[in-house]
């Protein structure tokens, strides 16, 4: 009697959870387009402010100082630093994507529910997208500031390894047919990729001699004129990433439903 009551309670709890999750999914899907538009608008606003209100940062010392806009300028002004306003936000989003991938991978390993594997896979895809954007924008900054397309600097090297690991994650998935085995291997591999992400994130502090600047510091003293566009772009990119994640997830789920329908159709055909 008591066991039955516990079982009933557990079933009710599971049903309630499913209802809440279903409602959350429906809400997220309804909000998809507004989220993407809001994200694009915020990022665009950040872009505009980065070029209008944010001042140019200074580089090497000039031979002779000059008075510009009532201020004495003693150093050369750098436009290349403007890349920072997009490069850093997309890099942050790529790390968040990796975290979500690892999180859903672990949830799959605990609960063995294929939906978590699907969510991990989509998060990995979004993470890879933002890694590529980070690499491209970083390469252009590096080419101009350091004069080279590539250097084996600790942050760059660990980030390149990270990109290769995420690509390998998809190669691994493509190589295993059994969905259960594929999900287990992918989840474990995703956790390894995430650890490299943590190393890449911390490497500028672990190896301070590296050429890549430490971006997040309590003493960075970023003035509001620079902080506001940076935060707007970061929020915008986060919304865009979340919108894309939900969009891709919806597409993948529909594709799965189609595959299931096809399989049952083939079975019916075979029986007749």
């Amino acid at each position: 009697m008591c066991e039955e009551a516990v079982k009933d309670k557990k079933t009710t709890e599971r049903d309630d959870k499913a209802v809440v999750e279903g409602a959350a999914t429906a809400l997220a899907d309804r909000m998809l387009l507004p989220l993407l538009v809001a994200g694009a608008l915020l990022a665009s606003l950040g872009f505009v402010l980065a070029f209008t209100t944010a001042p140019l940062v200074v580089g090497a010392e000039a031979d002779v100082p000059a008075l510009i806009g009532g201020q004495m300028v003693t150093h050369k002004l750098l436009l290349s630093q403007k890349i920072f306003f997009f490069h850093v936000p997309v890099a942050v989003v790529s790390f968040i994507g990796l975290f979500v991938m690892a999180l859903y991978g672990l949830r799959f390993l605990r609960q063995r529910d294929q939906i978590y594997d699907l969510k991990a896979m989509v998060a990995a895809e979004i993470a890879l997208l933002f890694i590529v954007m980070t690499m491209l924008s970083g390469e252009l900054w590096e080419r101009f500031e350091w004069g080279v397309w590539w250097t084996w600097e600790p942050r760059l090297t660990t980030y390149l390894i990270l990109m290769l690991l995420v690509i390998a994650y998809f190669i691994l998935r493509a190589g295993i047919d059994d969905p259960e085995r594929r999900a287990v291997f992918a989840s474990a591999f995703g956790a390894i990729a995430f650890v490299d992400g943590l190393i890449s994130l911390a490497v500028t502090r672990l190896i301070p001699a590296g050429a890549h600047p430490v971006v997040f510091r309590t003493d960075s003293g970023l003035p509001p004129a620079m902080l506001v566009p940076f935060i707007l772009t970061l929020l915008g990119m986060l919304l865009v990433a979340f919108g894309l994640y939900r969009f891709r997830l919806r597409e993948r789920r529909l594709h799965q439903q189609l595959d299931e329908l096809k399989a049952s159709y083939e079975n019916q055909k075979g029986m007749h």
Binding site: F47, A66, L78, L79, S80, M133, R250, L254, L258
Partner: protein
């Protein structure tokens, strides 16, 4: 331009193509991804509709 100002702004113009390219590439990659997902979604929806039609046709037969 004044030679002192020219020196102070000397890296601004040469950096412009790199800055523009970085921003353009970021948006291009995002748009390309959206285009791929939309194309996949439409293909899946088309196949789904065709399959439904086929199932309905079979049921009528």
């Amino acid at each position: 331009m004044d030679s002192i100002l020219a020196e102070i702004y000397s890296t601004v113009l040469p950096a412009a193509p790199y800055v523009i390219a970085a921003y353009a590439l970021i948006w291009l990659v995002l748009l390309a991804y959206v285009a791929v997902v939309i194309s996949n979604l439409k293909k899946t929806e088309r196949e789904m509709a065709a399959l439904r039609e086929e199932l309905q046709r079979q049921q009528k037969d």
